[in-house]
Amino acid sequence: MMQNKVKWSQIALILLLIVPGGKYLSLPAALAQQVGKDSWIVIAVLLLLDAICLAMTIKAAVINKHNLSFNSVLTNTVGAVPSKVIYVIFFVLLQMRIITLMASVYKLFAATFTIRSSWVGFWLPISAFCLLVVAKGFKTIARLNQLLSVLVMFSLVSILIYPATQLDVRNLLPLPQSDFATILQGTFNSTFWFADYMFLFFVLDSICPSRHPYVSVMSGFGVGAVLTVLMNVLFIALYGPLAPYTDLAMSKVSQFALALNTNGRLDWLSLSVWTTSVFIKLALFTFSAYKCLQFLIGNKQLKFNYWIGAIVVVFSLTPLFLSSDKLLKYMLPYTVYPFCVVQYVLPLFLPLLVKIANNKHDKRIVEKLNLSEVAANE
């Protein structure tokens, strides 16, 4: 499954799509409830943090000369037990992200297109899609992303460009509305929705070397980040004090799109195309969760394991018992701390961990060579 490698340019395109993807559903309204009109500042700060951590992750991948997997790096540096704790945290984080995203998309279809189904009927095709692409390998996700990126970006721009002509910039003023402490608290509470680069940890050993990985990847991320901030600015400028009372930002903002008022709801078409970026994000998170579980139980086979895949997707049935809103409400206040560690602290130390692991790998190679020489002499 992991035999095929991906290029840095493909990683850049993935980031371009998934950074804005999914952050224009329930997140803007949730942020507006916490920090009001300054939610775009919170997003900008978090994306800046993401950029720093992404740069460190790229660095780790670049210096990973022996193509060690994430599991090897952690096991050879922090040890087996702490590694498993890290995987558990990652697994819980990824499952919560998957459930939240799926619930938002479900609501988007129900509210915008008046299409309602049972959760199982909604979960089945999405899980089947995610498992299929995971089984095919990360390169499949990257190729799929490449194929859809132009369409998705075009639909995103077409949704946003006309509303941008109708926004009232005065809704953003005065700047900032909240005090620094509120913005800081809002930033900390919102870390759950960010750090989309996490999937890179699980493909550390599957990236083709490139001369300028930083340029392509940071550019892709940068464009995605700027779009995300602008989307939120647009939402606040359009809705002002109404922002905390809305739910799905994309559904609301797209209503203003394309001067459609007398020409029908063409925004629904663009919305449908844009939603594919959310599905790609779901596939990435499923892939990452799969790798976590694989490392956790010590499965080393390269072929796709259906049992592990089934366990990964079955967690998405949680909304049958507990709504995603309640899940976040009850779990997030406690899990935000360990999540922050794996999202933001781990990447900062990852280059160091990779270097140590590679050095240890070098030493083992030298020892093996020495042993084989001694054996040969004898």
């Binding site: 509210a111 089945l124 509305q177 007398t262």
Partner: protein, 392 residues
């Protein structure tokens, strides 16, 4: 892959297909009542909302009149959702509000009730477009929706075109649901809604044909606005005050002023009409002690109104030949001053702010937890207006 596995996979796909198609409950288009426009009235006796919905009714069959594509359906209820459910009960079709473009509020409704009860339903709805127009009617919304222009069919489409497309060029302000709801939530919680009045044309002969020709035909007057504060009706501005409002707070053009022609040419008419072809208003505030000095600077471009000339044509269009003297421009300026004076009298009397004075104050001096009118009472505001009129 052996034959047995292939058959199992095919059976599995078939079962999945059946299960998924049963599981999704999308609505067939024919089972939906696609609403083009809504009128809301208030029945003071029963304390219920009366909703009039213009619903798409596609013409079919040779006995149907060409162009007839909408019907009006009424619903009653204690709340908006109740009234819409009543329409469902009557028609057997669920109202689909995604195509609704206009919301008309009847006089009984906006003068007697809190608008929040009605408008919040639409504002919070994911399906209803926040960019839909909202306006008030003189009289009942139901009565207005049962009228039509001589040259058009759907009342909702007619009014939407009037308010949105023509609005910017003939000094007819319009507002959307989103903007109005926001205006009722911030600062002085003041906002405006356009007022539409139906003027019946008694000269038009009623046709013998069945169908929409039986509806009263006339025109719609919508050059005034009604002011609302905290979702309650305050006052309706007259023509003069409304024109001043459009100059001070909107980018509407098309305001018309009658001036005496002072050219030395006996063939020129004595009175001509000058139309505003471009308008911008800048507001600056300066606090001095507990007083706030507010200066409105209006820069208006005018031109004599000629047939075929409708207004702003953009920066790439050539300038027209000048037709107005300095004296005529001064007359326009004096008229604008007089209008603005009338407007500010009403503002002072009814204590509202729809020209963004408090917004400008907040932008310059920052927000506060204290309500804005406690921080700066209206009587502490000193207003100065500067008007520059040039010819386009």
């Amino acid at each position: 892959m052996n034959r047995g596995k292939k058959i199992l996979i095919l059976l599995g796909c078939g079962a999945l297909l059946i299960f998924l198609s049963l599981s999704f409950s999308g609505q067939d288009i024919s089972a939906r009542a696609i609403v083009l426009g809504l009128g809301v009235d208030w029945d003071e006796q029963t304390k219920q909302y009366l909703i009039t919905a213009e619903i798409v009714s596609p013409g079919g069959g040779s006995d149907q009149q060409v162009g007839t594509f909408s019907k009006l359906v009424d619903g009653r209820g204690d709340t908006m959702s109740h009234a819409l459910s009543d329409i469902y009960a009557q028609t057997g079709r669920k109202s689909s509000l995604g195509q609704c473009q206009i919301l008309l509020l009847g006089e009984s409704m906006y003068k007697n009730t809190d608008l929040l009860q009605c408008l919040s339903y639409f504002s919070l709805s994911e399906a209803f477009k926040d960019s839909s127009s909202v306006c008030c009617t003189v009289g009942e919304a139901n009565a207005l929706m049962n009228t039509q222009l001589p040259l058009s069919g759907s009342i909702s489409m007619t009014l939407v075109e009037l308010l949105k497309d023509a609005g910017k060029l003939v000094a007819v302000p319009s507002t959307t649901l989103n903007k109005f709801m926001q205006s009722q939530m911030v600062l002085t919680r003041s906002g405006v809604l356009s007022v539409i009045e139906y003027v019946e044309n008694k000269d038009i002969q009623q046709s013998d044909n069945a169908g929409d020709s039986q509806k009263p035909q006339g025109t719609y007057k919508c050059n005034t606005v009604a002011v609302f504060k905290d979702n309650r009706f305050v006052t309706a501005l007259d023509d003069t005050q409304s024109l001043a409002y459009t100059l001070l707070a909107t980018d509407c053009i098309g305001q018309i002023y009658t001036v005496k022609d002072d050219h030395d040419n006996e063939y020129n008419p004595q009175l001509i009409s000058a139309v505003v072809t471009d308008n911008s208003c800048d507001i600056s505030v300066e606090q001095q002690g507990d007083k706030l000095n507010v200066t409105f600077t209006i820069d208006a471009e005018v031109h004599s109104l000629a047939n075929g000339y409708h207004g702003k044509e953009g920066i790439f269009f050539p300038k027209w030949t000048e037709t107005m003297t300095d004296g005529m421009l001064q007359q326009v300026k004096d008229s604008i001053f007089a209008q603005i004076e009338e407007y500010f009298k009403a503002q002072q009397q009814y204590n509202f702010d729809i020209v963004n004075i408090y917004k400008a104050y907040e932008i310059k001096y920052g927000a506060s937890d204290q309500p804005i009118q406690q921080r700066l009472p209206m009587e502490n505001i000193v207003i100065d207006v500067k008007v520059n009129v040039t010819e386009n």
